[in-house]
């Protein structure tokens, strides 16, 4: 997902701020406003948030500013438990990285990268270029990475050495076991021109 930049000038942060109190009330009104008891405990699954919330558990309707991590309100948004658990499972899966080894011919040791971080080939290649201080060049179906000193390759589930870029990104993600940056001379066999 794209990096989120908080456009503080555009957002009306005060209006959208989540606080332990009624919308529309602010600090000065808190005594007179018929404030509901702020016993909104966070969901049991969210251990981190609940630790923060215990401190904010308002005994006397303190409408404090929202903590840095938004307090989770029980049962809101109204999404059924089954769906919620499904999503959390997905999120957990998404959060566990998908690390693969990257070897470069001639380098003394290997590196590891998390493929899940990248959204597609361009980003991956840029990252490899940055990590190994080299240029890989542009991919073409016919020529592979012609014109560059290095070509990125990977070992797939069957153990075959494949050129990075031929298959759709998702398919690559699910079949890539490890990456190997090959030197141009060796890589010529991998589709870098005739």
């Amino acid at each position: 997902m794209e990096a989120i930049v908080a456009h503080e000038n555009d957002l009306n942060l005060k209006a959208t701020e989540l606080r332990l109190g009624l919308p529309g009330t602010d600090e000065s009104e808190k005594e007179s406003a018929s404030c509901t008891k702020n016993n909104k405990r966070s969901l049991p699954e969210c251990a981190e948030e609940s630790a923060k919330n215990d401190d904010l558990d308002a005994q006397h309707g303190d409408c404090e500013a929202a903590p840095a991590a938004k307090a989770q309100i029980v049962g809101w948004p109204p999404v059924r438990s089954y769906r919620k658990n499904s999503l959390q499972q997905k999120k957990a899966e998404a959060e566990t990285g998908f690390y693969v080894k990257v070897s470069m011919d001639g380098a003394p040791y290997l590196r590891k990268i998390d493929l899940k971080v990248y959204k597609g080939y361009p980003e991956l290649l840029k990252a490899l270029e940055y990590m190994f201080k080299l240029t890989i060049g542009e991919y073409s179906e016919r020529e592979g990475y012609r014109g560059s000193e290095y070509a990125p390759a990977y070992e797939d589930k069957d153990g075959d050495l494949m050129l990075v870029g031929d298959v759709p990104w998702e398919m690559f993600m699910s079949s890539c076991k490890k990456l190997r940056i090959m030197k141009g001379s060796e890589a010529r066999g991998l589709g870098c021109g005739v």
Binding site: E2, A15, T36, W76, P77, S81, Y82, R83, S174
Partner: protein, 594 residues
């Protein structure tokens, strides 16, 4: 009363003077129709509302109706008792029961609240041995109850459990083992103990009657071999919804055995398939000429969506609410589905995806957009008002919407209902509580005002965003057909709730959370609650005194209170419902019936 006529419905029933004492206006002249004719005519009535009206005409009609009723719908299991039901309806074959208040789906009702099916089953076993169907929503069902069910009704055909809890897959094993005539097993979104998938293997080898099988929400792996054989031998299978553990190659084998399917829920849609297998899967879909409904598609990898294309043109309902498709992926798929009437998606398709819906699906009547990241503060995700606008622009037949979004404007909603004035169900969830119109910073009052003014057929409304009492003034004044209203983090004072209770002549269900409505508001509905199914208020400003007063004034209402832990006088949750069964006897210690 002469018991004979109860046994043989063909004997003309004699009028009893005691009866006319209860119905002083009942005409003593002979019935216009012989009872047999009346019963025959009434047996063609299916709507519960119609049957209810019919039963109020006179004693004859009341009796004819109750003898001819075979399906019973009980919207609140505590509104009546098993004994009363058994006494009134002697010939029931199908029962639908709903238990806990709807907010229990969102963890607002503590465990062990009640709504246990067991006592009902015991009564049914006694009085309705020929029971065929049981459909439960938000009830507590134990494995023992399921076993009792399986053993007590030899002709049992259909079991549907939605959003229930208390049982495990062992209970399902009993059903599979003993219900020889089972046609339907529909297990959806329940909080259960998923012990093992062995229940599926418990269907006997000579069992062939299954027509509907939905185990999509059960995670434990079933034996594919058992599943394949089951699907093979159940030639009448129309609905099959498998769980996530079923892969694409397995799906292909199932489809080949059941090309007659009308409704399919796939398993996980993400598996590396060789090209050849991909083609086979696509062909399998091509051969499913009757497929109208498609669901499942977990982890749908865009790479394989094309196998669905041959089946897409006949689809009327597509449920992608568990498939995290991006807008470009989704757009390609939806272009193949011009006949959709109903679409459920995740907001990962974003506004662009919804624009595609507007362009491709002119027949669309229902759309539900679920949040992929409901607890993420990231406002750049999901859908906005423009997605909704795009759908309303292209899909003029839209009448049902459930829309989770990060932002909305009054102007957009006004335009939307201009485009689609036929809304019957309008459920808008602006996910940040109390959020105003993000362009004007004003409350969202005018949005919902537009909805209730324009959509005269509106039956169900869920409001959200920053709302003052004005929203509720509008609702009370204009929402003449409104039956269900859900309110959260809204309103300014008692006046808001009073407006709703003073207007809305058809209101049946009112559920409110985290609103500044207090005793005055609660008590303003004194007379109205008996015409409603129920009222739920949590985290509002109601006190014990208010609830006690309500209970005292209205003895035929059950006023159940769950108290605030810290404050003895303050009421955390109150649930008010009409009942002919009196206060319930199974209330747990944290529920106080006043």
């Amino acid at each position: 009363m002469n018991q004979l006529w109860k046994m043989d419905p063909n004997i003309k029933k004699t009028k009893n003077s005691a009866d006319s004492a209860n119905y002083p206006e009942a005409i003593q002249s002979p019935s216009q129709f012989p009872d047999e004719v009346l019963e025959k005519v009434l047996s063609m009535l299916h709507s519960h509302k119609d049957r209810s009206s019919v039963s109020l005409v006179c004693k004859d009609w009341y009796n004819a109706e109750r003898w001819s009723r075979t399906k019973i719908f009980i919207g609140n299991c505590y509104s009546v008792s098993p004994e009363i039901v058994a006494r009134r309806f002697p010939r029931i074959k199908s029962v639908t029961l709903k238990g806990k208040p709807r907010f229990s789906d969102f963890n607002l009702v503590p465990q062990n609240w009640g709504a246990n099916i067991h006592d009902w089953l015991v009564m049914f076993a006694k009085v309705y041995p020929l029971l065929e169907e049981l459909r439960l929503k938000r009830m507590t069902v134990s494995d023992e109850s399921l076993e009792f069910l399986a053993m007590s009704f030899p002709g049992f055909k259909a079991l549907s459990l939605l959003s229930c809890d208390g049982f495990s897959t062992d209970g399902l094993k009993s059903i599979a083992t003993h219900c020889k005539k089972l046609t339907e097993l529909d297990i959806q979104e329940n909080g259960i103990d998923d012990v093992s998938g062995s229940w599926l293997s418990a269907f006997p080898d000579n069992f062939t009657s299954l027509e509907i099988l939905n185990f999509a929400s059960l995670n434990s792996e079933v034996s594919f071999d058992a599943l394949e054989r089951l699907v093979s031998r159940c030639k009448s299978l129309k609905v099959l919804k498998v769980n996530k553990g079923t892969g694409l190659d397995q799906l292909q084998r199932l489809l080949v055995r059941a090309p007659q399917l009308m409704e399919l829920g796939t398993g996980s849609f993400q598996q590396e398939l060789m090209f050849r297998h991909c083609m086979e899967l696509e062909n399998a879909f091509r051969n499913c000429k009757n497929l109208q409904i498609l669901a499942g598609l977990w982890d749908a990898s865009y790479v394989y969506l094309h196998v669905l294309y041959p089946a897409c043109s006949s689809l009327t309902f597509l449920n992608l609410s568990y498939a995290t498709l991006r807008s470009d992926e989704f757009t390609k798929l939806i272009a193949h589905c011009p006949n959709l009437r109903c679409l459920w998606v995740l907001d990962t398709v974003e506004d662009k995806g919804l624009e595609a819906v507007g362009s491709c699906c002119p027949l669309l009547e229902e759309i539900r957009v679920f949040p992929a990241h409901p607890f993420d503060q990231d406002i750049n995700h999901g859908v906005t008002e423009s997605g909704f606008l795009a759908v309303s622009h292209g899909c003029r037949k839209l009448h049902y919407v459930l829309y989770f979004c990060q932002q909305m404007t009054n102007a957009a909603v006004a335009t939307i209902v201009q485009n689609c004035p036929d809304f019957t169900h309008f459920r808008l969830c602006i996910m940040n509580p109390g959020q105003p119109d993000y362009l004007t910073d004003e409350p969202m009052d005018e949005a919902f005002g537009a909805v209730v003014k324009t959509c005269t057929k509106l039956q169900r409304l869920a409001v959200s965003g920053l709302l003052t009492d004005l929203t509720f003034e509008y609702i009370g004044k204009y929402a003449k057909n409104l039956e269900t209203l859900s309110v959260a983090f809204a309103g300014r004072s008692d006046w808001g709730m009073q407006c709703v209770l003073g207007g809305c002549p058809k209101l049946r269900k009112l559920e409110i959370r985290d609103c500044p409505f207090g005793n005055a508001a609660l008590l303003s509905g004194l007379k109205k609650y008996e015409s409603m199914r129920s009222l739920w208020m949590s985290a509002c400003n109601v006190t014990m005194n208010g609830c006690r007063l309500l209970a005292k004034e209205m003895p035929r209402l059950n006023v159940e209170v769950m108290k605030d832990e810290e404050d003895d006088s303050h009421v955390d949750k109150v649930y008010v419902y009409r009942s002919v069964a009196g206060p319930r006897r199974d209330a747990p210690p944290f529920v106080l019936t006043l």
